[in-house]
């Protein structure tokens, strides 16, 4: 990639980061945070986007960012209070800025009307003029000052400089506002630096060198103000210069040289010949006689500026060889220069530094190509399998458990596990990246459905594997839309119910027993169970006389083909219901459940594995096949007695556990490993709990043990198999299938059984 394209890619990447900063900052302001830190961060984000966009000539983006920035500057300066009336348009502007960035990146376009509407909104807040636009942003800092000086005719141009004359002609060919009635002669300058000039690390010799680029220069040092040594302030400024620049350079060019120092010096510029003729013989004599002092003067001047470089030959072909020849003799900065340093500043600096160093150490990061991390994870997966194989071989070789080999192997196992955890931690990312996309969604959906909604997020720092995060966006998006569209009541209804007209959607994440739990809660009306049930009956999803618990009714909304909205709005999708959400969560190895309280709202709870790469599993045998059941789903294992198992009419069985009847799933039979049901007393039962707390008992032949297994996708390598979540490789090198607990539980309930069997 060519370097500019690469930088541009970086720019867009950075823009995304800035947009995130911007949005979270604005949201904080919306929530009442008006600290200067937040406001500054918001300002910087827009400023930074603008700066980069300018460098790449993205004018549309620059223009909008400028209006945005100007508004933020008002807030930053405290002239505009960050009230909701101000922050809301800012949030809208942030959305448009994001669209503009993406349009610039992907070559799309943004409806100019939207941008203009937002820009006018911003202008209205600040009372900015239309097109107070990006114009002041250009080059005016370095633009040459237009000339109003009319050059008086000069009699004699300096002779014998043909090269310079050519240069002069070339320079004259450039646009030059100054009228040039005749060949210009040049300029006489008096230049008296103040001490401040040197304090800012400006350097007379460099200014003189710049002047020498404009023409033939004569430099003459005026050291007349130099005091005697006892009265000399080592950091004072006592020298001044008289300079003649011969050549066609306009006054603007001359003044431009002093642009950086104009307020730190006394400068006069006059056309040559207007002032009294240059250097008199007396002056020369005076300077010559002052030579002894000049040594000191030059040294001090050098010490003040502390430059270590030799002076230029190009300067001073003129009549001031003294000043020039003295400068190279400069020593290193004199120690006296240290003295005037203000003590408080010196003390403050280290304190600030140590704090900053700590902060920097805490945030030190490197960027690594994701492929490398994935490869490392794959390798560690192989290591785990290999270690399991080795353990099995050692076991088969009949070595005692206490033998040094077995003990060493145990240590290896521990180490392997630690490596695995550490590698997984590399991939772990805070859910923030998904959560922070939601505020915009909430704003948009709320605007479409005409409800007032506030999004509250919690636990943004909760970490989970990157793959999980990537696949979390769609289900979360859908659930939040759902919560706003269906969960929250209309504003009128809320007011009628005595609630705050502004509905709250709460999005939270936390770690619980090796999984990440994400909740989407609304404070709406809760699930209308009457209606849900009647719809389910109407659509033939349940029998009309089915006696269902409240919880079971709530879970009906996850059934395929269920949609509670009387009219299908374009917010929650067309016919795409919670069943899709449920399926995508299940594909991630997760579970979803709902709790609802009438009048108080509903909460969707998703529980997801922290990683998709490893799993703690129970290795079991069913019909001579080795299978793995995820440990997290297993509540307990039990040895069923024949008296506890009851057969139902259609061959289905239930088992009574402490007085409750739980469906019994014969794993070997339902996966087709054998055709005859297993005698319950011959096998082992695993009580499992699926999403929503529904329980079932898996009947298997035997339990082999508990083991951490590396998940290998079956879908990616073979195809999707109902009832099977994934596969793994065991220590003996054989492939074992990992059971899809939720599918098995559902099958036991009969709800998904037909589909599963057909597909199988």
């Amino acid at each position: 990639m060519d370097p500019m394209a690469e930088i541009k890619a970086t720019f867009f990447q950075e823009c995304e980061e800035q947009l995130v900063e911007l949005e979270s900052g604005l949201l904080a302001m919306d929530a009442g945070d008006d600290s200067s830190e937040t406001v500054n961060a918001v300002f910087r984000a827009v400023h930074s986007v603008k700066g980069g966009a300018g460098a790449f000539g993205l004018d549309e983006l620059v223009h909008f960012a400028h209006v945005f920035e100007t508004t933020l500057d008002e807030v930053r300066a405290g002239r505009l209070a960050p009230s909701p009336e101000v922050v809301k348009p800012l949030l809208r502007a942030a959305d448009i800025l994001a669209d503009l960035v993406r349009a610039a990146r992907d070559g799309g376009s943004v409806d100019p009307a939207r941008g203009e509407a937002s820009a006018s909104e911003l202008r209205a807040i600040t009372g900015m003029e239309e097109d107070g636009g990006a114009d002041d942003d250009g080059m005016d800092g370095l633009v040459f000052t237009p000339m109003q000086v009319s050059l008086p005719p000069i009699g004699d141009a300096p002779a014998g400089e043909p090269e310079l004359d050519i240069a002069a002609l070339l320079a004259a060919a450039q646009p030059d506002p100054a009228p040039e009635p005749e060949e210009p002669g040049g300029w006489t300058l008096t230049f008296k630096p103040k001490a401040e000039l040197y304090k800012k690390a400006n350097e007379t010799v460099l200014l003189l060198r710049e002047l020498a680029r404009l023409g033939d220069v004569e430099v003459e040092l005026d050291a007349s103000e130099l005091p005697l040594l006892p009265h000399l302030d080592p950091e004072g400024s006592y020298l001044s210069w008289n300079i003649k620049v011969r050549g066609p350079a306009p006054e603007g060019d001359i003044r431009e040289v002093f642009d950086f120092v104009e307020s730190d010096c006394d400068l006069t510029v006059a056309p040559i010949g207007e002032e009294t003729e240059g250097l008199s013989a007396d002056d020369v004599a005076a300077i010559a006689s002052a030579e002894a002092e000049l040594d000191i003067a030059a040294l001090i001047s050098r010490a003040q500026t502390a430059g270590s470089e030799p002076a230029q030959d190009s300067v001073g072909q003129g009549s001031a060889p003294e000043a020039e020849s003295l400068t190279p003799a400069a020593p290193a900065p004199a120690p006296v220069a240290v003295a005037p340093t203000p003590a408080p500043a010196a003390e403050a600096a280290p304190a600030r530094d140590s704090k900053a160093a700590a902060a920097a150490a805490a945030g030190a990061t490197i960027r690594v190509d994701l492929d490398r991390v994935d490869r490392l994870i794959d390798l560690v997966g192989e290591l785990v399998i290999n270690q399991a194989m080795l353990a099995q071989r050692v076991n088969e070789a009949g070595l005692a458990r206490a033998s040094s080999v077995a003990v060493g192997l145990d240590e290896l196992e521990q180490l392997t596990r630690e490596i695995q955890d550490s590698v997984m931690a590399i991939r772990a990312q805070p859910v923030k990246s998904v959560f922070q996309r939601m505020p915009r969604l909430v704003r948009e959906v709320a605007a479409v459905v005409g409800k007032q909604v506030r999004l509250v997020t919690e636990g943004e720092g909760t970490e989970v594997d990157k793959t999980v995060i990537e696949r979390l966006t769609d289900p979360l998006t859908h659930m939040i839309r759902n919560a706003i569209d269906h969960g929250l009541e209309s504003t009128e209804k809320r007011i009628a119910a005595g609630k705050n007209p502004e509905g709250v959607v709460r999005l939270s994440a936390l770690h619980r027993s090796g999984r990440i739990v994400i909740e989407v809660a609304d404070d709406g009306g809760g699930i209308n169970r009457e209606r849900v049930k009647s719809i389910a009956i109407e659509k033939g999803l349940i029998a009309p006389d089915a006696a269902l618990t409240d919880e079971e009714i709530d879970n009906l909304i996850f059934l395929p083909g269920f949609s509670t909205a009387a009219t299908i709005s374009d917010i929650s999708g067309r016919g795409v219901g919670m069943d899709v959400v449920k399926r995508s969560i299940q594909e991630l190895g997760g579970r979803i459940s709902i709790t609802s309280r009438p009048g108080l709202g509903s909460t969707f709870t998703m529980s997801l594995p922290l990683t998709l790469a490893v799993l703690d599993g129970m290795v079991v045998t069913a019909g001579q096949q080795t299978l793995v059941a995820p440990l997290t789903a297993i509540v307990e294992t039990l040895q069923p007695r024949r008296s506890e198992v009851h057969s139902l009419g259609d061959g289905a069985r239930v088992i009574s556990i402490r007085g409750a009847y739980v469906p019994l799933v014969d794993v070997g039979l339902s996966l087709g490993y054998r055709s005859e049901p297993l005698d319950a007393e011959q096998g082992v039962a695993l009580l499992i709990e699926g999403e929503g707390g529904s329980r079932a008992v898996l009947l298997v032949d035997a339990i082999q043990g508990q083991r951490q297994v590396v998940i290998k996708s079956l879908e990616a390598n073979y195809r999707r198999v109902p009832g099977i979540a994934a596969a793994t490789i065991l220590g003996d090198g054989r492939v074992a299938l990992i059971l899809d607990i939720d599918a098995l539980v559902a099958a036991s309930r009969g709800t998904e059984a037909p589909r599963m069997l057909q597909a199988g």
Binding site: G51, G52, L142, K200, A201, L206, T341, R352, A356
Partner: protein, 121 residues
């Protein structure tokens, strides 16, 4: 020996662009991400010229310039301010903090090298 330039800018894009322009022009480049980081870098580096942004987190350009000027070791290093803001007040503020000169964004390599030449021997 080629000159060493310290650039202080919180934008990765800007840092990359500065690096490219300066390396192409034959300078050694040292970079820092904000004012605090800049002062840290200065504990181990003695750049010939410093180029700094103004709007930065943790410590802005003004604070950074003041910090450099208060440091006996670096107080005489020329500092160029690189900023989109070109208003006289902003320039005055930078100058008061101790800036040597400034470059207005967007910059090009020529402008950049020109400004460096003007403040560094």
């Amino acid at each position: 020996m080629s000159k060493t330039i310290l650039t202080v800018d919180d934008s990765r894009t800007m840092r990359d662009m500065l690096r490219m322009a300066l390396v192409d022009a034959g300078f050694n480049v040292v970079q820092a991400e904000d004012g605090v980081h800049g002062l840290e870098v200065l504990q181990g580096e003695t750049p010939d010229v410093i180029i700094t942004d103004i709007n930065m987190p943790r410590m802005d350009g003004y604070g950074f310039i003041e910090g450099v000027r208060a440091d006996p070791k670096h107080r005489a290093v020329p500092i160029l301010v690189l900023s989109t803001e070109s208003s006289p007040e902003k320039k005055m503020r930078a100058r008061d903090a101790g800036a040597t000169g400034w470059i207005v964004k967007p910059f090009n390599s020529e402008k950049l090298v020109d400004a460096i030449r003007r403040v560094a021997a």
